[in-house]
């Protein structure tokens, strides 16, 4: 218990944060309160123009090249849940690597996950053929995926588990092939009743139309899906972030080559740290 300072006025009791430095970077990001409110309310944020047109074009070229001749450290899943997938796409260099560490995205990731204790858990490219159907994920309290949990406490502190940043490489502004979600479903207490319902008949499902190069950051606890592209295939980049102690998605272990070439990049190397609970040395904040 506290006893008082030298002038006799009562001292505040020591908090855990005064004594132990187990959580770093909380409250450091400069996220506008409007964005925090929007994300907490809806479960997602639209981030316009994350990539330039040149970067979009470069990423598209990379995906074509990788799909034609998939390197060893990228896995081609011809029949993923949303279409053909290229898992561990950050190994593809260039824009598909750079897009994992976009400063605008990481600022939100730091805000919504756990201060500076976040890491990249997985990455993939999604290639969606015309008329490709997509499921609606469960989301909310009924979602069995514990690693997808959404958490925000009454004083505005976020402790989300997995977040996904999805970047469109094709224009979905007209709604065809658009990412869609049930806004606020990350807080739903009941399972959604649309398990066998055509997406077009799911009344609360909202399209999130995006221009090529724009993205959406969402909690994996949000009920979401893709509308089918109508005429041409659509490509997406998808990056999953989690707290520092979350292990890699299977097949998403970074290669030694990737670790070497990103070693001098603080943002990328931070994202690719091995999973950990506490930052090195964090428990030596104050000698007792």
């Amino acid at each position: 218990m506290s006893t008082g300072d030298s002038e006799g006025s009562p001292m505040k009791p020591a908090t855990e944060a005064d004594v132990f430095d187990l959580q770093i970077g909380l409250g450091e990001s400069e996220t506008p309160v409007e964005d925090k409110h929007f994300f907490d309310t809806t479960g997602y944020l639209v981030l316009d123009d994350l990539l330039t047109p040149d970067q979009v074009s470069q990423a598209q070229d990379t995906l074509v090249r990788i799909e034609a001749a998939t390197p060893e450290n990228i896995t081609l899943l011809p029949e993923g849940p949303y279409g053909c997938e290229l898992v561990n796409i950050i190994e593809g260099r260039g824009t598909v690597e750079d897009a994992m560490a976009l400063p605008r995205v990481l600022n939100y990731v730091q805000e919504f996950i756990w201060g500076r204790q976040y890491r990249l858990v997985g990455s993939r490219a999604i290639l969606r053929a015309p008329r490709r159907y997509s499921w609606l994920t469960q989301g909310g309290a009924a979602d069995p995926r514990r690693y997808a949990r959404y958490r925000c406490f009454g004083d505005g502190q976020f402790r989300c588990l997995m977040l996904t940043c999805l970047i469109a490489l094709a224009d979905t502004a007209d709604g065809a092939g658009a990412f869609c979600a049930i806004s606020a479903s990350h807080k739903a207490n009941l399972p959604h009743p649309y398990e066998n319902t055509d997406l077009n008949a799911v009344e609360p499902l909202c399209n999130v139309p995006l221009r090529a190069g724009s993205g959406v950051l969402f909690t994996e606890n949000l009920s979401h899906a893709f509308k089918p592209p109508t005429r041409e295939a659509h490509a997406w980049l998808s990056y999953q972030y989690g707290p520092s102690y979350m292990v890699n998605w299977p097949g998403c272990e970074p290669s030694t080559d990737l670790l070497a070439r990103t070693a001098a990049d603080p943002a990328k190397s931070h994202l690719l740290l091995e999973p950990y609970y506490h930052p090195t040395g964090s428990q030596k904040k104050q000698k007792m």
Partner: protein, 274 residues
Amino acid sequence: MTPEERYLFDLHGYLVLRGVLSPDMRRRLNEPIDYLETLDDNQTTALGAERKYRTSDNVYAKTGNSPEGSLGDYDCEVLRYGGPFEELIDLPQTLHYIEEMIGESSRLDAASFMSRNSGGAFRFHHGYAELLPYSEYAFRDGGFKCVSVKIGYALTDVDVEDGCFAVIPGSHKSNFTNPLVGQIPDPAHPLVQPLPCKAGDAIIFSEDLSHGAVENHGLKVRRTLFYSYAPAFHCTWHDLAMTAAGFEERANPRRLELIQGPSPFAHAAEADVP
């Protein structure tokens, strides 16, 4: 778990399980420790059982006295030594508690032996208000959903004066920062519940519970084995779940799964893969 055990774990954040280690099991666990303590540090390290001594600048531990010629307070990664310590990974008497408290496929994320001398103590740490995501106590949909559950197995009798484990019951749900954080638990404080144990007892608790150890005023060395479990998508605590050579060949399937970790993203059915 019985209905009463569920009620008490939810209420207090811990359970004391009496006599989960049989006398024979205790003997088999203490024997290698006795043996290792006859060896010098280089010899124990060569056997995979490196002793890591607690030092006076440790923010959690108040180190005990170690008379000339005796060992100081130390931790040891016993799974690297192997032997009977592997049997505790999936001990039937306790594993079903872990499974129910975590509520989904889980893994062992740490195991450690702790030896504590007279004069030593462990300061209070954690509590729900801290919002540490990796230690969260949670109960939803009629079941526990804890993300870190630990078991301390007593290998020696530990009374209050011997520096027993101590908790603040209910602090796994407290919305206010623990005012005793960083302090050595005072067994006389009205918030503090010391938990004396007999050798063979175990204390199972949510890591979100404020916990520590009162000061050891006795002459006995306190011996405890801590085993820690988490959902499968959590990593391990440093190298604290590394096993001895040949473990993969010796281990039964459940034990192997708890060490290697089951599929980390369970329930990622096709419809739910991000």
